[in-house]
Symmetry: C2
Subunit: 197 residues, 2 copies
């Protein structure tokens, strides 16, 4: 085997999470056997994400435009705002089909030990939205772990002066877990069972 | 979530073997968070493989040049020829470090039921090499399954008229398996324990 392009592709693929040497090898030879069109579809998609992805200036979701598709969709319920840690969480919640409001991405969770203070998150931007928009309910859908809990509590305190209902996503999710890995049914249940805090 | 570039990348990644929706999602957001340089390294490697990969005109290994790095390496033992089904098998054997001869890739295994007859494989080219080159031993390293066995037997018959030792890779490999998934130690043992047939 030429220690060249194939070996290089294998090395590149092992950069990805959960892809070890053997998996990378299998993927590389699979890619080699794909049609040129199919393989280039993958590389094009990677490039596009890196070239075009930006944050929505309203909610900090990933978008290609100034305002994301959810924020600019006039049929969404503008009185409900679901606060999440990461854009990937929006994708998971959207797939449940059980939430029709808007989102706000914090781009992280509080973690003083890692230097993640409130200023590092999009909390100021969240407060501005609550002040100016007609939001009636803020659903805190941060992760059900220590950092996510702390973040939810912190935001809950900040929102006390406002005439807005603040709810926390229900614990259908296993504690210590990550929204990323929840199945759609559990996540739907958690959204339905949200309680005031 | 914008049903756009991220969703597209997720879809593209699910084309790969063993990558389901959740894994693709995780990979897509990981790629999004990578440096542009790292991410583009992956897409470039995919494109390079599709644009530059070709078969070595001697042994049908994957190469970027007319003759692959192994065939053109003057320090390899030209008296030993290891016959494999696929270029990926060469990579695995090379990583054991226990074989210093040359290779010949059949680009498949006999399977009459699938229409894979001897003419569809690089068997004629193998015979030519045995005729003209100074090969003293042909090691049949096809997979230890029905097709691989049949292919080895077929080639063994063809080689009978020639003054060449024909060996079969030893059954350190579990029967019904695939060379692809063998660990390096087992594969080394199998190469060492090869027997004349």
């Amino acid at each position: 085997m030429e220690e060249g392009i194939i070996e290089n592709l294998i090395q590149e693929l092992t950069k990805l999470p959960g892809i070890g040497r053997k998996t990378a090898q299998r993927l590389a030879f699979f890619i080699l056997a794909m049609t040129e069109e199919d393989a280039k579809g993958i590389s094009r998609a990677i490039n596009e994400v890196k070239e075009k992805a930006r944050f929505c200036s309203e909610c900090f979701n990933i978008t290609e435009t100034e305002i994301c598709g959810i924020c600019s969709n006039s049929s969404r319920d503008r009185s409900k705002l679901c606060v999440v840690e990461e854009p990937s969480n929006i994708l998971v919640i959207e797939r449940t089909g059980s939430f029709k409001g808007l989102y706000h991405t914090l781009l992280g969770a509080l973690s003083p030990i890692d230097g993640i203070t409130p200023e590092r998150l999009k909390i100021r931007e969240l407060m501005k939205r609550v002040e100016k928009d007609e939001i009636k309910e803020v659903i805190l859908a941060t992760n059900p772990n220590t950092k996510g809990e702390m973040t939810a509590q912190y935001i809950r305190e900040l929102l006390k002066p406002f005439d807005v209902k603040v709810t926390r996503i229900a614990y259908g999710l296993p504690m210590g877990g990550d929204i990323e890995f929840a199945d759609e049914v559990t996540l739907s249940k958690a959204l339905e069972g949200r309680r005031e805090m």
